[in-house]
């Protein structure tokens, strides 16, 4: 396919491609976030590019090498690099060095808590620094694949080989271990704190209902799941990895157990990135061929944001109000869409 051609109802698809404002980054971009009202395009190495709503680009040097992991709560963007540094960037564009690994190991994962705590990992060790600056660490049996804070309390999920360790840094209690064979990478709690889901090295998700540790196997993907996003209110988890957005239902007490996922916006390209709208039942999906669609969750209606025929989409982000969508491609092409 050389151009976007949704089968059948081609004429009926709405397009907002002419409303996209291109942003010139000029370097490969690996993820996109918002810092306040500015979009932050994270380069593959060294720099973050802050784009004002007027489209001015401000490069900010954050690392002296590759930027390996990022997380943002829209007030700050925290990054780990292959220079062994953990760095935060705030809405004013100020860079703060949060930690340096003494052995200059790669900082592979980061997570942010709503109370200001930050967690990161290097090798098999997960570190946490509370909002008050108190630091603790915890070693898991194998390299940390992903980190996530629970939405309530101070509890950190540490994904690794053969399961996830739930660590309570402020309690004497032993960490809980959720076991499942295989390599667990990205990890996320459902916003209602009832479920934990990991993206595995193999093309599958694995989930646990935290109340009784019941397993949820979510398989059938042709490729590894690299992007996950909870819909507004946490009713569903949108995922990349297939040639459609796979949406797992989490509204009921059983989560997706025994249910089929919804498959939205199928294309002849693989979904590379997903970002649910912060307030409405809408998501943005970016594909391996550069296509970007906005999709209504209730009926699957699609709006074309960007045509195909380029590098894969590497990042998508909404501002807090859900009025601006920022996107980037692996090769550094980027844009902003005002709604």
């Amino acid at each position: 396919m050389s151009a976007f051609e949704p089968g059948g109802d081609q004429a009926s698809i709405a397009s907002v491609t002419d409303r996209v404002r291109p942003v010139a980054i000029g370097a490969p971009v690996t993820s996109v976030h918002f810092l306040g009202e500015r979009a932050a395009f994270v380069g593959a190495e060294e720099n973050v590019f802050l784009a004002s709503s007027e489209g001015e680009i401000l490069p900010v040097a954050v690392h002296s090498g590759g930027i390996l992991c990022t997380v943002s709560d829209r007030a700050r963007l925290v990054m780990g690099g292959d220079d062994g540094k953990l760095v935060a960037l705030d809405t004013n564009g100020e860079v703060t060095l949060l930690a340096t690994d003494p052995k200059r190991r790669w900082i592979d994962n980061v997570a942010l808590h709503s109370d200001g705590a930050v967690a990161w990992s290097a090798g098999k060790t997960a570190f946490i620094r509370s909002g008050k600056g108190e630091e603790k660490s915890f070693d898991v049996p194998s390299t940390v694949g992903g980190l996530a804070f629970a939405p309530k309390g101070l509890r950190l999920a540490i994904a690794h080989y053969n399961g996830v360790t739930l660590w309570f840094p402020n309690m004497a209690a032993n960490p809980e271990f959720l076991e499942w064979a295989g390599s667990h990478l990205a990890v996320t709690f459902s916003p209602d704190n009832k479920f934990l889901v990991t993206a595995m090295h193999e093309p599958a998700l694995h989930g646990w209902r935290l109340a009784d540790q019941r397993h949820m196997r979510m398989t059938g993907y042709p490729g590894r799941v690299r992007s996950m996003s909870w819909s507004a209110g946490g009713k569903a988890l949108a995922t990349s990895g297939a040639e459609a957005v796979i949406m797992w239902p989490f509204a009921s007490k059983d989560g997706p157990m025994g249910k089929e996922p919804a498959m939205l916006a199928p294309l002849q390209a693989r979904v590379a990135a997903v970002a649910c709208h912060p307030k409405q039942d809408v998501l943005a999906a970016g594909y391996s061929d550069g296509t970007i669609l906005m999709v209504r969750l209730t009926d699957g209606a699609e709006i074309l944001v960007r045509r195909n025929g380029t590098a894969p989409v590497s990042g998508l982000a909404w501002n807090a109000k859900g009025t601006v969508l920022a996107f980037a491609l692996e090769d550094g092409e980027a844009g902003l869409l005002d709604l």
């Binding site: 490969p28 190495e45 292959d82 790669w106």
Partner: protein
């Protein structure tokens, strides 16, 4: 179709038993004036004498894929590191992975077969094994890891040849050839070997599986082909005999098996047979390679495998006058030779 292989970053796997000289070779590669930049994945920091900001420490973390196949193991740390390194594409030309002395090279190689993201960005170039001329013969007896590393190798750097006599050298070479007659063998002192002999080999490139003839002991400048007087050290596990002056060992445990046919193979029989063979005997088969001629097919078909993993493709048209011959090679542990030979025979069209 653009040639995607050429854009993928080549990865050389450097193995060798403890003390054989892996770090010496690595330092040599890094310090030579070649104008290239290497990202190096090592297990122990501090031994590298060269300043390089792309030296990455790794823990050899092997895990089983969740596909019910026990030997389908991959290096999880390598997946992660290669993924991270790809963010610095353009900062280096090639990657070298140094394993620990006790490592099995299979999980490293298998990582390149099973991981989609790794496959997209990088390609396995060759497994280079550094062997200690003085001690390898002993290690082959008492260290299964050393034997694995020799069996798996595409290139063997037989190091410390200055520490052994001609007779000892012939002995250790014969033992290597008894296990792996296909690897390129270079005799070195202090790992002094031309970089082109260990890097950019394309050993896993299907297009370059052209020669799978055994590399019999080539004549080195100082190597005497008519030295008949060095037969010794017969022990219960080996039998040595002589071919035109060269000693030949047969290793009881690890060996290679080659098959050939000048009659075409029936693809509808061969493919299921090969799949079944690696599924049932894959734990024993370390490496496999083949160039195949199928009936009613004008293309050469090539395949290669590591344990249970196979990849294969039509390579090119058979040339006019080129003998349409099928050749297969297996290197493995206690290979069920007769079963393999019989199975192969049944795939030959009559």
């Amino acid at each position: 179709m653009p040639d995607l292989t050429s854009q993928k970053i080549p990865v050389t796997v450097l193995t060798g038993y403890l003390g054989a000289g892996k770090t010496t070779l690595l330092n040599r590669i890094l310090s030579e004036n070649h104008g290239k930049k290497y990202a190096v994945i090592v297990n122990e920091f501090g031994e590298i004498g060269i300043d390089n900001d792309l030296i990455i420490g790794a823990d050899e973390e092997v895990f089983e894929m969740n596909n019910g196949c026990v030997c389908c193991t991959v290096r999880g740390d390598l997946v992660r590191i290669l993924d991270g390194l790809m963010k610095r594409k353009g900062k280096f030309d090639a990657i070298i992975v140094e394993t620990t002395g006790l490592a099995d090279p299979a999980p490293v190689a298998q990582t390149f077969f099973v991981d989609e993201d790794v496959q997209k960005n990088a390609r396995l170039d060759a497994v280079v094994t550094v062997a200690d001329a003085k001690w390898l013969s002993d290690r082959l007896k008492d260290a299964p890891e050393a034997k694995n590393q020799i069996a798996f190798a595409d290139v063997i750097v037989l190091n410390k040849t200055d520490l052994v006599s001609k007779a000892e050298l012939a002995e250790v070479e014969a033992r290597i050839r008894g296990i792996n007659p296909y690897a390129k063998l270079h005799r070195t002192e202090r790992c002094k070997v031309a970089l082109s002999d260990v890097l950019e080999r394309g050993a896993f490139d299907l297009d370059r599986i052209l020669e799978i003839e055994p590399e019999f002991l080539e004549a080195g400048d100082d190597h005497d082909h008519h030295d008949h007087d060095h037969h010794r050290g017969h022990d219960g596990h080996d039998h040595a005999h002589s071919h035109g002056g060269l000693k030949h060992y047969h290793d009881e445990e690890m060996q290679s098996l080659s098959l050939r046919s000048d009659k075409p193979l029936d693809a509808t029989k061969f493919m299921p047979w090969l799949q079944d063979l690696v599924a049932s005997e894959g734990q024993k088969i370390l490496r496999s390679k083949g160039i195949l001629s199928f009936s009613d097919d004008d293309d050469r078909y090539v395949f290669q495998g590591v344990h249970m993993m196979l990849e294969g493709d039509h390579q090119r048209k058979w040339k006019d006058g080129e003998p349409r011959e099928s050749r297969l090679v297996f290197i493995g542990r206690e290979l069920p030779e007769q079963i393999i030979r019989d199975g192969f025979e049944r795939c030959i069209t009559t």
